[in-house]
Symmetry: D2
Subunit: 277 residues, 4 copies
């Protein structure tokens, strides 16, 4: 059996020695290991992939006994995550995810797709993934969110993926999924927060356009950034052409972020990510 251990705690001397000692004496084989010390905040992070038989509670208790009291310790079996995908009308991110999912490349099970529109229903049907249409027409934001939660909650998804879900989520919604909602924003954040980033980019005359995958927290487009990338643009492209050109970078950035998150390679600390790739 393969497990992933994630630890973060205030730094102190000898942490690597103590932790690796517990793993070694438990007969576990470390096949990948990475540590990082944030010297600004004096905080220690470590991620290990180990192979062997283990008693989860026992290992965690042993680790707790040698680590600072404030340590976060997570130890889970290496396996696919269960996710629900939220979309609106755009197909490029969803299409990319469904193809990867179909061929077993996503490292996740897409349990369902939820949309506030009907445009993508027929497409999802091809891939035999349940599609739920929850129109926001005539509803208060909170009413709509409640309806979405009613559908989403029973799936007990570990992550929600916003694959171009064009609605702002309120804290009332996001508090249910702390660091468990991943969004793709179609700009190089923090440039062009909010609506119509490509129009903003066109108006500003930038020479690069980008995409940002980030965890969603209470403040719009302010959550911890996971991955970002950019492509060249120039005066020939108006806002519409930028939006078209940006589709590929959006879908690849989202997919790269999901690879990292679903492999338990991402720590969140101080609204930033520490990523062991």
């Amino acid at each position: 059996m393969q497990y992933i251990l994630q630890i973060d705690c205030p730094d102190q001397k000898g942490l690597v020695h103590k932790i690796s000692g517990i793993l070694f004496k438990s007969g576990l084989n470390i096949i990948e290991n990475e540590e990082f010390v944030d010297h600004v905040n004096n905080h220690f992070f470590m991620r290990s992939e180990v192979v062997g038989g283990l008693n989860k509670a026992k290992i965690i208790s042993k680790l707790s006994s040698v680590l600072p009291r404030q340590a976060h310790i997570q130890l889970h079996e290496k396996k696919k995550k269960n996710i629900v995908v939220l979309v609106t009308k755009e197909y490029h991110c969803l299409g990319d995810l469904l193809v990867r999912h179909h061929f077993g490349e996503l490292n996740a099970n897409i349990l369902a797709i939820v949309s506030n529109h009907l445009e993508l229903k027929e497409f999802c049907g091809k891939f035999s993934v349940p599609f739920h249409h929850i129109s926001a027409e005539g509803l208060e934001r909170s009413e709509h969110e409640s309806k979405v939660l009613e559908i989403v909650n029973p799936y007990k998804a570990e992550y929600l993926v916003l694959a171009k879900y064009m609605r702002i989520l309120t804290p009332g919604f996001t508090k249910n999924f702390s660091n468990r909602i991943i969004n793709i924003h179609h700009s190089f954040l923090p440039a062009f927060i909010g609506a119509k980033p490509y129009s903003q980019a066109y108006n500003r005359g930038v020479k690069l356009i980008g995409a940002t995958a980030h965890f969603v927290n209470d403040t719009l487009d302010e959550g911890p950034i996971i991955t970002q990338d950019v492509i060249n643009t120039n005066h020939k492209n108006d806002a519409k052409m930028m939006a078209k050109a940006g589709r590929d970078v959006e879908k690849i950035v989202l997919s790269n972020a999901l690879k990292l998150v679903f492999a338990d390679r991402v720590f969140v600390y101080n609204n930033k990510t520490i990523i062991f790739q």
Copy 2:
């Protein structure tokens, strides 16, 4: 003799035919030619490099006679620009420019270097370029700018290059050099406008850091963007390390922008650049 012709005007049918006709009938050989129509604003741009003998006034008058009344026509000999460089304490952009200048690669004559500090004086001395120190100590911003202008003006520079000049210029200064001041900003604008962009970048936890070369206008960091580029960063880099790592992208972005501007490849229109490369 080699000339560069730059025209921009409201678009209409037949412009390319009319302009190329005048060049052809004047016996000029077009060795490079590019046009662009901004379909959002219905505006036409054209840049031609031509070889041959010509009467400048005559060509311009012929062109005026076939172009819309509002046309801007510029025709100049292809030659090195005269520039003055402003710096503060950082050496990386200045060093790069001086090495290029020394070996004739810059496509410009650096007439002088002006700094509000003394740190780079000795270095400039190696390259035999006049160095003027104008301290801002105890001066009002406008007083300091007046002193800088007193030094700069007699050089009759075509462009001012701000190679990490860490002072904000007021409209009183910039109005003298419309689209003739080029600045390198150490972020991917419009992200992280203003002071300490690397600290801002560190605090936001971005995964790319960048640099932007732009013309300076009345509003801080809002002028037309010429070139931008980014490099990867990650959680291992604090603000200081980002600043170090960013030096190379800053100097290359600035140098790329200067290549384009000094070769008369850049049009400014609606606070954006149209670039024929």
Copy 3:
């Protein structure tokens, strides 16, 4: 109606003026125009998008009368290309093309998919595109190619797209499709020509891996390059991990090449491409 005009011929003075004159006098509106002169070979290239009513034969005849005898003139309506896609077992390029095709983004009609294996049949079924399985088992290369041609020819495709078709095509096959077969090779050509480029890349210890879209000619992996891109790799990736990581750059590079080719933006000259984007 919208048309695309492509001209290439030995360079001479006044070509732009003559060509644009014919277009102007025919009442056509040029909405995009680009020229290039290859000064090494003294050869002229021009691509125009024009709008208006036109008599194709008449325009071509007028152009011929003013252009050098050796000129190639192509004038066609702007419309989707008809293509056939060849694949083997890998899904990532095909999946990307089928999703784009489904949503009308490909600028081409996929008439059929041909494979020497069965792995992708079920997937193609989802998208209602005819799938032809032509096994190469027990066949001479030429026999297999004949069978493929028998299936392909009746579709009268303008382009064949090799979306990870893992068989070498002989000149007997390719001569039927001069500059009309586009292949994606999973390396930065000319590095790692031939089989198993990722194993070659791993063995050489490169720090970037790439993909190259190119037209197929008589010599393996030697045809004119259309687009290339690379991504970072490092010591952590073995050949298999590189192959996985390379999928995204392969599919995006192929798709970018198809965009250019299907929009008639690509000239082939001296085994190289001139691309007006």
Copy 4:
């Protein structure tokens, strides 16, 4: 005092625990630590930066006692390397290194510059670094190399940097500097090995040009690759223009490689590099 410890050996269970234990019990503080296991060859690599007082021989002996017999252990004080730079006529890499050196950014002392030509002598003079001209005129390759060694050897340099040194070095020369000569090759190796890579690139019609920094071994352009990067090119650039455009990527790639090597972040194993950055 700050030290860097580099270990590589056949992998076995418990290595991290044993090594970190010795460091911990010696009272050393690990401020940066990275390990990697090459699962293809079952080989372990570890690099640690430690702070504290230590007896070098004692630490190494303790480490040896717990590590496999074949382990390589290197422990050195963190300090600037001593280097000699070899050049021919091109200034861009040398200029970049000298500016960084002047401002203390290079993490190395340039003891001397050796060239087979005189072009760069005056420039080196500005920076007060000894310049040795050793013409190859009329000399056998081995004679010239002997003369170079006579000059270079007394400097006892830890590394030789070939900053566009346009002569092939024979095994008779390179055997003196195993993994201690760093070259910048002006292509994306292994594409375009040998002479005139930009002409080769032009002839092949590539859409990206690159640079590769590598250790020099017995076979031309076949040594372990340290860093590589590429920039876009297109049909507008002939070989000369590519060479000019390539200068910046060459100098940055070389400088990036030196940063890594001089910080003892690079292991060489099986003609590849493992790099902890």
